[in-house]
């Protein structure tokens, strides 16, 4: 048995013993979830999570098992930081299967039923799943177009007809190429130029404001040097090369600042997972 395996077994056994002892001795209960009934007009009983001390609280083995599974999966993913292992692989395989299934379900109810079937078979959908749909809703035959295009995608599995699968791809790519071409020139090109146009001499209450003027000049020159870096047609040599070099430095400052901003946000994500483990699961810390 290698040292690594010995340490792994030791950690597992010690952790297991610790959990057993904590579960037996903890007053708050380790990873226990309580629920209370929710009054509903439709006579069907539903439950929502509540505190243990709530008078209507009932222990929920269903959600308690869920919390324990979530804690196990959290630790399994964290174990990937050390190296790939069987627990991470298990978590990975579960997330792929469950999330793919979830998105299939979401696509079916939110897109196929709510967007396509409501247009092609409104009465059927109204009687079945969406009773809030207007009674006067009529069939829109134009929605046969996306249905037919989608079916063309399946032609890829028929060798003689596989070329038909390109039609929906061309439709999607062409449509959004046209949409994005104009919208991005409006939203990014024009609006960014508009925001960058600033006076190079700033007067505040009639007198020359040195710092504001230098700031505005710096802003304009920085944008111009960065744009020089992105020039493709001119070799980056000589004076132009020096200008584009300054542009690279401005970009590096931009990336450094963005990096710093993001670091603090990422630490918050970690603290949230620790909160789940130590508060919601182990109940070691009072929230």
């Amino acid at each position: 048995m290698t040292r690594e395996l010995m340490i792994s077994w030791f950690l597992l056994i010690a952790g297991g013993i610790g959990l057993v002892v904590l579960s037996a001795t903890s007053e708050k209960g380790v990873g226990t979830i309580y629920v209370k009934p929710v009054p509903a007009a439709n006579q069907v009983q539903t439950w929502t999570e509540t505190q243990r001390t709530d008078s209507a609280a009932v222990f929920s083995p269903y959600r308690t098992a869920g919390v324990w599974l979530a804690a196990f999966l959290t630790l399994a993913v964290f174990s990937y930081l050390y190296k790939d292992n069987v627990f991470y692989k298990l978590a990975e395989s579960m997330i792929v299967g469950v999330s793919a299934g979830y998105y299939l379900v979401a696509n079916f109810w939110d897109s196929i039923v709510a967007l396509l079937m409501t247009e092609l078979t409104p009465q059927l959908v109204r009687n079945w799943a969406l009773p809030s749909l207007s009674e006067t809703k009529t069939v829109d035959p134009w929605f046969l177009v996306p249905l037919v295009l989608s079916l063309f995608l399946f032609c890829r599995f028929v060798p003689r007809l596989s070329w038909l699968a390109r039609w929906p791809l061309a439709f999607v790519v062409g449509t959004f190429a046209g949409l994005r071409l104009v919208s991005i020139l409006d939203a990014d090109f024009i609006s960014q130029i508009r925001s960058t146009i600033v006076p190079l001499i700033v007067l505040t209450n009639g007198s020359f404001n040195v710092w504001a003027s230098i700031r505005n000049l710096g802003l304009l020159l920085s944008v111009v040097t960065c744009l020089a870096y992105f020039f493709f047609s001119v070799p980056h040599q000589g004076l132009f090369g020096k200008v584009s070099r300054v542009g690279v430095w401005v970009l590096m400052i931009t990336f450094g600042a963005s990096f710093a901003f993001t670091v603090m946000g990422r630490i918050t994500l970690l603290t949230r997972r620790f909160e789940f483990l130590f508060i919601d699961w182990l109940r070691l810390i009072d929230p």
Binding site: V96, Y102, I112, S132, W167, F171, F176, T254, V263, R273
Partner: protein, 231 residues
């Protein structure tokens, strides 16, 4: 030859959408195109789902390394799809109690909700949380690079990090107010107001031109690799 019709489709669709932003009568087409795309992508999911099934089923059938995990994937997938499509455990909505299928598929307490709450959410959140470790390792490696660009990037990150917390304010609290730009918070403000703003704007201007050019190449049929070979 077989790419001729798709190229025509791409051209017509692209030009129509370009015009739709200027011709009021065509403007509703934009929203319609977006809805059609959502439907197309949703139905296309069946292809992806089938591919997922076949990919893992083949691994199980051929007993490739790690086939047990493929079995876990398939079982998880089928259970999720079944409870979701059948709206198992989902009560009817309060407004329509006589319509058993009227409830929201992700209602609290339903099995699909349980799968999302206790499998999808914790795993994705924890993967997200790994970023805090990766940020540190990326910063360490970049610092070791020792070229001018890396030094500027890390130096700026250092200044901005300190400038946004009380430690940075404390460290340069002795600097007189007239030289505020030399303090960590002051330098951070200058970096954000001038250089970061300039860099972001230049990147966005460049991206907009790049998107415009590649979109035009696609519409005109110059760029057609997404269609595969022209047989």
């Amino acid at each position: 030859m077989r790419n001729v019709v798709p190229l025509v489709i791409a051209f017509v669709a692209g030009v129509t959408m370009m015009l739709a932003l200027f011709v009021p009568v065509l403007q509703p087409l934009q929203e319609r195109a977006s809805v059609w795309f959502i439907i197309l992508a949703a139905i296309a999911f069946l292809i992806g789902g089938t591919n997922l099934l076949l990919h893992h089923a083949r691994k199980i059938a051929q007993q490739e390394a790690g086939w047990g995990f493929s079995a876990v994937t398939l079982v998880s997938f089928f259970i999720t799809v079944f409870v979701g499509l059948a709206k198992w455990g989902v009560p009817p909505s309060d407004a329509y109690p006589n319509h058993p299928w009227s409830g929201n598929y992700i209602t609290e307490g339903a099995p699909l909700w349980w799968l999302y709450q206790y499998i999808i959410d914790p795993v994705t959140s924890t993967m997200f949380a790994l970023l805090s470790f990766y940020v540190a390792s990326a910063a360490y490696r970049a610092f070791r690079a020792k070229n001018t660009e890396a030094m500027i990037l890390l130096g700026t990150a250092f200044i901005v990090l300190l400038g946004r917390c009380s430690a940075g304010t404390f460290l340069t609290s002795w600097v007189p107010e007239s030289l505020e730009a030399l303090t960590f918070p002051g330098a951070t403000a200058v970096i954000m107001a001038v250089f970061t703003t300039a860099g972001q704007r230049a990147i966005m201007i460049g991206i907009s031109l790049g998107v415009a050019a590649i979109s035009l190449r696609i519409i005109l049929g110059l760029d057609r690799s997404y269609l595969g070979a022209d047989e």
